[in-house]
Symmetry: C2
Subunit: 332 residues, 2 copies
């Protein structure tokens, strides 16, 4: 079975902001499954901020995305041809096939999932990499105690929304930061945060002070910039900051900190992390996250773009914060 594959490759590296011209759509037939192989039709493509880092050629925690090759990315799809004993046509599988309609595997980099309790798309979000990211940063770096105040930036996003809900389950007061009244409403009403600060309202320092009357014990940082500075100064003694992302700096601009002194004065711990370096913990995290979704304890939102061609604009929108919750591309 040969298929007419379409894929989006990295055409050029961004100079600052990502533009549609950084990507190129290509068509190319893909041969069917060879012996021991599985052919997968991708149904959903996951878009995630980390991809921005891969587009640069700078030294980072991962190799740069090569020019002319299909953009990296997690995918959820179904097996349409199998010559592998462990997979059957119709199986729902997760993979890292990137921005393309089909993918082929020898079975080693795909994982069958049970969609009877957890919808397929959730495996790209709160029961997938973003969920584990939230789980790891919160539990292993912040380690929240009941009664503490936890601040979460990008609170309406795929990671931030999970951080806040898990922290609430741990008995914390949870304060989010998001852009715009609509997102803030979702953060409090749907995700159950105690408060959410609209950073676009222009009174971030005052609002942060009002929302964290007892200071901040744990801060889950996805953004960088002004929020980081202000939060640093409101941290309580022995506070923990998990640096998960710095989306404000993805355009390449430096992210200065006004004064590092609070780190000493309040004995803070600041720790950057990359969830892919903690694979041993994924099964435990995924079990908990899956169970919470199945029980209806963990809510999530998705923003779904239609068709492979929409991926570049959807990705640019993600970087600009135009999505709510998990940004997906529906491929079929």
């Amino acid at each position: 079975m040969s298929v007419a594959n379409r894929r989006i490759v990295l055409a050029s590296r961004p100079r600052g902001e990502v533009v549609p011209g950084n990507f190129r759509l290509e068509e190319e037939p893909m041969a069917g499954a060879g012996p021991g192989e599985v052919l997968v039709r991708n149904l959903y493509l996951s878009l995630d901020p980390y991809m921005r880092g891969r587009m640069d050629d700078a030294k980072s925690y991962a190799a740069a995305q090569p020019l002319g090759e299909v953009m990296i990315g997690g995918t959820a799809g179904e097996v349409i041809e199998s010559r592998h004993p462990k997979f059957a046509v119709g199986d729902q599988v997760l993979g890292m096939f990137g921005w393309q309609l089909y993918g082929k595997s020898d079975g080693s980099a795909i994982r069958k999932v049970d969609t009877s309790q957890v919808p397929l798309t959730a495996y790209l979000g709160c029961v997938g990499m973003p969920g584990v990211t939230a789980w790891y940063g919160l539990n292993r770096i912040i380690a929240p105690k009941a009664g503490e105040t936890i601040l979460v930036s990008a609170a309406s996003g795929a990671v931030g929304s999970v951080v806040g809900q898990l922290a609430r389950h741990a008995g914390c007061r949870v304060v989010g930061v998001a852009g715009g009244a609509q997102k803030c409403g979702i953060v409090t009403d749907e995700f159950g945060f105690d408060a959410c600060i609209d950073y676009k309202a222009g009174r971030l320092a005052d609002d942060l002070r009002a929302a964290t009357p007892a200071g901040i014990d744990g801060f889950f940082e996805n953004v960088g910039g002004e929020v980081f500075d202000l939060a640093l100064r409101r941290m309580n003694a022995a506070g923990r900051i998990a640096v998960c992302g710095l989306i404000a700096g993805y355009g390449g601009q430096p992210l200065p900190v006004r004064d590092i002194r609070p780190v000493l004065v309040n004995r803070l711990r600041i720790e950057g992390f990359i969830v892919s370096e903690h694979l041993a913990l994924w099964p435990e995290a995924l079990r908990e996250l899956g169970a919470r979704v199945a029980r209806g304890e963990l809510r999530y939102r998705e923003t779904i773009a239609q068709g492979l061609e929409s991926a570049p604009e959807a990705f640019i929108g993600l970087l600009a914060g135009r999505n709510v919750g998990k940004q997906l591309v529906k491929l079929a």
Copy 2:
């Protein structure tokens, strides 16, 4: 036995730099030991950077030094009158009597020390609070592994010199930063660092790069400012930064960081600490440090000012980096 005590009190809080006028010398007779009490003649006064923080009224990890009261400080002395069963005249004791000639205690806040193997003054330095500070930050935060590169700022000081020697014993390449060729010579020749960078030479970035060809795995920070910025950018993946002091900011000026991005890109851990919050570890640390001094494995330098009246100038000199090693005041 009544004694003619003299003491130095905090007369006013500094506006920026500390000046001699911030202190005042007072004379006042001190009554002899009451029932259960011990009267101590202080022989040496310890001067330490943390005292600068106490002089301010700002929120910090410790209460401000009250105006009009004797300046806080560690002391080493001998018992001259005892009405306490556990202390005898002639005992050498450590205390926190502050900047004064005598001190009185009910026995609870003084500690007898054995000076047969370790000189009395070392108990104020590398076998005292500065030594434990070095031990804790290095072992409990940086946790060096053999072959790693460790950077130490204020490397000729009471803390930094111990950090470097302990890291060398752990099999690390150790690079110091100090001010001036003379100090750098002491750091390499006496304390055995592999290299020392003179930050006054005006080519800090180049010298740091040259001295850390394999990057930096652990950074023991005593200073803040430009060294912090440059070191942050040379940290290797999974690097650890122990923030022990920020002496560059003791005048009250902010200590900005140019770009926080390396924390994420290299998954760094930055941790501020205060050694007095880890009292449970002091006995273990002091045993090791004392044994190393007794065996001649741990070297130290002292800068000794003569007489109580010299304490303010000696302290101002300490903040300006005019000392080498531990700054003491010899009182008798």
